[in-house]
């Protein structure tokens, strides 16, 4: 603080070194620690073993699945198998063992692999697509609301609409869908399975199917042989003392009894889906149902059941498109990371790219970025509600349509297993996301953009649903 009477000499200051003032350019960053791509992955996934294992963010139910299978099978091998092996045949524990290992193997494979995540567009790609969309829609003055961003393509005689994903900044390939839980576009999206702790998509559908199929066999196997065990014992010693001698059997029977209905039902449902080459998403929406139109048929089906099954289960395994373990090149442009799930602090380069990419969107759509007001879907149950499949962009749970979507789903009994999440699912609104705080700390520029983009996504989703 100067007083006017101070001599000039006392007002001399050392020039502040501006090098270290920016928080990004700390001495540590000069070491140039090379990162792997999974560390800067923009989706809401968790990675383990240095990027080899990839799962969804919420894995609680997956651990429950593991525990149920391990405990039930463990009890079976420990308490029932000795009796069965000695009184019937040792083949029983042998077959049970093989089945059990196969089940666990398939479960781990389904849970840990990349379901077919589509990497987000690089900034140049996104800009190019924006240009094409603007050219297609024509210039409009302020207040002009352009039509929803879709492209139509004719596949095997059927017209399919390709939708634009605002989070990933790409036109989704046919059959791809954006998972709101994982915040990724997934190819051939089937559904997000909390029991498996991952999305089920193109790359892990066969593992998921083999898991539920082998689990059905295992459940029926254990159920049947535990009952056999109890019956054989009660023939000798009476029913109650049989139960007393082998108390674990009761628990196993209870678990298996309830599992059999849901798992066998689910296997049956997925067998139907595979044989008709549909995804759960398409089946729920009735995309290829003849109810939509006389000429409506599934353009992806190969025509006969055997080919469909072979294609789904024995076809070539596509590679992962996201290269989790690759190293980040320091000079490559980073893809749009609008989600709230970034694992690490993005670089300034990312910030500038983001600024370049998000501002056109923000400027072009002033009406929809209101944040608060959400379009209410029409009250009719048929169209919009049944379209609320698991793969839709994140929709706020305040939509009344969600509850009637639940009713539509309840008709598919066997799906309750994996679709409970739709009832309980937290369609994550920006306020709930824990990472919003991180975003606010590291990138003040992002917070409004990412929140708005989620709202934008959801509002656009509704606009499209009501217009379709």
């Amino acid at each position: 603080m100067h007083l006017g009477i101070d001599e000039p000499r006392e007002c001399q200051y050392n020039q502040i070194c501006t090098h270290n003032s920016s928080p990004m350019e700390t001495p540590h960053s000069k070491k140039r620690k090379v990162k792997r791509k999974w560390q800067i992955f923009p989706g809401r996934n968790k990675f383990y073993c240095n990027g080899r294992i990839m799962m969804a963010k919420q894995t609680g139910v997956f651990y429950l699945t593991i525990v149920l299978i391990l405990v039930t099978s463990g009890l079976f091998f420990a308490f029932d198998c000795p009796f069965l092996a000695s009184n019937l045949t040792p083949a029983i524990p042998a077959i049970g063992g093989v089945l059990f290992l196969f089940v666990i193997g398939m479960l781990l494979r389904a849970s840990f692999s990349d379901p077919g995540v589509l990497p987000r567009a690089t900034p140049e790609e996104a800009a190019d697509v924006e240009r094409q969309i603007d050219a297609a829609n024509g210039a409009g003055g302020p207040g002009y609301r352009p039509p929803p961003r879709t492209r139509e393509v004719v596949i095997n005689g059927q017209t399919v609409k390709l939708k634009y994903c605002f989070t990933c900044k790409i036109f989704r390939p046919p059959r791809a869908s954006h998972c709101s839980l994982c915040d990724n576009c997934v190819e051939r999206f089937d559904h997000h399975c909390p029991w498996v702790g991952n999305c089920v998509g193109k790359r892990n559908y066969r593992f998921f199917y083999l898991f539920i199929l082998s689990l059905s066999f295992l459940t029926i196997f254990i159920f049947a042989f535990v009952i056999t065990h109890v019956i054989l014992r009660s023939n000798r010693t009476g029913f109650l003392s049989a139960l007393k001698d082998s108390p674990a059997s009761v628990l196993e029977v209870v678990v298996c009894f309830f599992s059999v209905w849901s798992i066998v039902g689910l296997s049956g449902f997925h067998t139907y889906l595979i044989s008709s080459n549909q995804t759960t998403n398409e089946d729920i929406k009735g995309s290829w149902s003849t109810k939509r139109g006389k000429d409506n048929y599934n353009p992806y089906s190969y025509g006969n059941i055997l080919t469909n099954c072979c294609a789904a289960l024995c076809g070539p395994l596509p590679p992962s498109l996201i290269d989790r373990r690759g190293f980040v090149q320091p000079d490559t442009p980073q893809p749009a990371a609008q989600s709230n799930g970034t694992n690490t602090c993005p670089t300034t380069q990312l910030q500038s790219h983001m600024a370049a990419v998000t501002t056109p969107l923000l400027h072009a759509q002033p009406i929809l970025l209101g944040g608060g007001p959400v379009l209410q879907p029409k009250p009719s149950v048929g169209g919009p509600c049944s379209a609320l499949g698991p793969g839709q962009p994140s929709l706020p749970s305040s939509i009344p349509g969600l509850s009637c979507g639940g009713e539509v789903l309840a008709l598919h009994d066997s799906e309750n297993h994996c679709h409970h999440h739709l009832h309980h699912q937290h369609f994550i609104s920006p306020e709930e996301t824990p990472c919003a705080a991180h975003l606010g700390h590291h990138m003040p520029l992002y917070d409004p953009a990412s929140q708005d983009s989620l709202h934008e996504d959801s509002v656009r989703g509704l606009v499209k649903l009501s217009s379709v």
């Binding site: 193997g105 790609e125 004719v154 596949i155 095997n156 046919p174 289960l313 024995c314 070539p316």
Partner: protein
């Protein structure tokens, strides 16, 4: 006449003028196939036929990778029987073809595209969404 560049020169020294993206062609379903439509930005740089030939060859290679047939079924069944552990020691058919594609693109870049001031990016690096063609500034004529 355009000044010819070597691939090395291009990557290190030339400035990027623009990028062209060749999008996917979904008319045959979800198989990996790129549009053979000739982008207008390349009109002055390369012949239409050459470009179409490159894209068509790429499409054929991807079709080979995704082909359903006796060989892929055998691989699938064998893998299933070994609980997919066989892929710890063996490459999948798709991965083998991807290597072939990478080699093809490298070769095309060296022989055809780099001398014209263009660079193809392997689609796998863009999630099989686009074939990215980078157009470099030509220093002999000046910036476009």
């Amino acid at each position: 006449l355009w000044q010819t560049h070597s691939l090395q020169d291009l990557r290190q020294q030339a400035a990027i003028a623009s990028k062209v993206f060749v999008q996917r062609d979904y008319t045959s379903g979800t198989i990996c196939k790129f549009q053979t439509k000739f982008p207008s930005e390349l009109e002055t740089r390369i012949e239409k036929q050459q470009f179409e030939e490159t894209v068509q060859t790429l499409n054929n290679l991807y079709a080979e990778a995704e082909k359903l047939g006796g060989k892929s079924y055998l691989e699938g069944c064998l893998a299933c029987l070994t609980a997919y552990t066989i892929f710890l020691c063996m490459e999948t058919h798709y991965e083998k073809v991807l290597k072939k594609i990478a080699k093809y693109i490298q070769e095309q870049n060296e022989k055809v595209y780099a001398p014209l001031g263009l660079l193809l990016t392997d689609p796998i690096e863009r999630g099989l969404r686009v074939v990215e063609i980078t157009i470099f500034e030509d220093r002999s004529i000046g910036s476009r």
